[in-house]
Symmetry: C2
Subunit: 463 residues, 2 copies
Amino acid sequence: MAKTPANTHVVIAGAGLVGALLAIQLGRRGYKVTLCERRPDPRTNGFIGGRSINLALSCRGITALERVGLADRVLADAIRMPGRMLHDEAGNLTFQAYSSNPEDAIHSVSRGGLNVTLLEALAEYDNVVMLFEHRCVGADLDAPAIEVEITGGESKRIEADYVIGCDGAFSAVRAVMQTQNRFNYSQQYLDHGYKELTIPPASECGVDPALHNGFAMDPNALHIWPRGHYMMIALPNADRTFTCTLFWPFEGSESFDEISSESAVLPFFEKHFADAVPLMPTLIEDYTKNPIGSLVTVRCSPWHKFGNTVLLGDAAHAIVPFYGQGMNSGFEDCRVLGELIDEHDGDFGEVIREFSKRRIPNANAIADLALDNFIEMRDSVANQMFLLRKRIEHALHAIDAERYMPLYNLVSFSNMPYADAQEVGSKVVRLAQNIADAIGLESGQTMSDAELSRVVAEYISKD
Amino acid sequence: MAKTPANTHVVIAGAGLVGALLAIQLGRRGYKVTLCERRPDPRTNGFIGGRSINLALSCRGITALERVGLADRVLADAIRMPGRMLHDEAGNLTFQAYSSNPEDAIHSVSRGGLNVTLLEALAEYDNVVMLFEHRCVGADLDAPAIEVEITGGESKRIEADYVIGCDGAFSAVRAVMQTQNRFNYSQQYLDHGYKELTIPPASECGVDPALHNGFAMDPNALHIWPRGHYMMIALPNADRTFTCTLFWPFEGSESFDEISSESAVLPFFEKHFADAVPLMPTLIEDYTKNPIGSLVTVRCSPWHKFGNTVLLGDAAHAIVPFYGQGMNSGFEDCRVLGELIDEHDGDFGEVIREFSKRRIPNANAIADLALDNFIEMRDSVANQMFLLRKRIEHALHAIDAERYMPLYNLVSFSNMPYADAQEVGSKVVRLAQNIADAIGLESGQTMSDAELSRVVAEYISKD
């Protein structure tokens, strides 16, 4: 019998964001899909998240959602963030647009809400079976099959034509692949951890609700308190709260280790995050109660085994969150896999081989960029030369958007493969730095944007 | 009850070279040791090796053996290799001494013989229990304890005060540690694999036994057939055979993939290893029968968990074999751990924390050096500028052995920590290269060793 989608059974481990979107991609193409998820059904039980409450959706994620007709629905619930709002220690605010194009923005979305939207869309496909409280605990790469534990105790083996591991940074499917000969693998933790805190709506922290549409701060920005070797950020939620995330070293000076007692928390915050303290009535409670998360970068190669098992999303390439690309890169995986299925006329074995080959350099590029961007966010954004360079990048971009697209724009506002974006964007960074050096910091700082733009245009015309 | 060695129970997973030597180190200090090994007892059953038949023992390994009084016994069975013998495609031989000091040599030893020697020495300690056919399959890091499967089927849990994983590159103890938060881990495979072949004694391959004391080639050298992107090497065995190892790419041109049929083997060898073919009467059979091994570099950090579980040897730092330092670095682990026990007056928790901290940079250094040395062995040794630089390094060393010890000497003929050796040795390499550039290749090649030495002495006197 010829293999058609209808008689090709694909089992997906993990119905998080990537697993659910992939199931839609396969469901639409008529594949017989079984989707196994360890958590209860969030549509009926509410979302039980293990991690960040909100996420920044940008171009790559939006493009992948457009392919399955869900972008508008998701963006309707999202909050536009066209730039960063920097908070210095004195409480002064500086807004940095992400792009010279005012239409460019990243979008704060709820992880739980987005997951439910994807699962609801999936319910339309009779050829997709969703099994909740089915935790993938292993795989048989020869069959292929996955082993699942059903909440309560029973174990089950699910055979399929193809196994897809979308089971996250600690993937059970990948753990089995790791025991195979010639499987390259690395997991590297940052010396920094994170902790989530909350800023309630304006009315609950003494801010005039009229100021920011009921929010305690401007919701149309990603807020950053850059403090050199550590930082705090805050993203807005639809319920007019902000979720703040501290990124601190685990050990050493000004670390989670050092600021561990209840009595140490407030003085530290009052010194370094003074403007945030009045907005955080539950600071001490949140700080004491909430766990410290760790931040891991996972790389592996190849992503497939035997042409019948493949990894997507965090299972293949967990990255640190500092470029806001974890979900976006996972969604891009789904888009690319879908395109490859169409290109290869459904030869799934060839699809996953090609997918692995094509995606690995891009995943490595965004992993590196995300690590680099931590330094930019916590430190460089408060550096004067960095700010001048950013203004020059924007001026270049405004002069010729195609030719001088800055790295941030290429990553966040384009679908250019990450490895290419890294290469092209680095050239623009070097050019902007050369122009900044030619102008000089003091002279550049005194120029208006219009003046700077004229000087930049003159520089490149001579180039 | 105060913890003394006599009431401190240490369980060691793995009685290979490192596990056995470590057990001696602990046994001598009075610890209660349980040593679990998956293989049958090689003292009564013969050694069943999974890997390389012979190994190059050098200074670090010898020093560690001296500490337990076994160096002389081991060296008595070893074959001295004071240099490399290079075989070019035309069959011309060039001997390259490893050192300007004729006393420096590496020593070919039998893995099985050495393992038996260590286990025999261990039998003297009543406080050490050896359990063969006990395969470590897991660990409980909280207890701590290891889980073992006894050949035949039964499973057992062995609790102890401390667990030490000496269970090799695919360590089960490390696999459990890898699931712990903030455990950094990487496994990277080379694109080259290896296959072992045999050269029998002179009498079995038509060579006059009087020529090389019954060997088919000079036994007092490590033989290399450098061929650019691949190579073959051969080490002598006490039974007058040589074990040859091919290091070839898995795929591509001139690879295991390409030379896979019986009919392709001989023509290839006749073209590239012509002088070896007459010495290998079982070439086709060996090539067809013997498996292709893969070559992995394992790095992790930290090496301990909770101050009660620690990794040594390949379990902590598997490296590629091209510097002949796999066993030597593992034996050095044992020496350093022993020294730390003495320094810390038996506070084992502190010992393994300090051990992990101190050894990781050194393990990373030798891992990098071993990867670099593959290129040197298969390619650079046949490069004229490289050979001139090596002669200059030897000249520098002869002038001032302390100040200008070449990298190879620091690694193979000293106990300087690998990371320091890497740093110091790199400076000597750069100096030698500068001198080579100043002299010029052609001019250097025409100089006698005495002339070269004079020129080098003059150069550094002006430096």
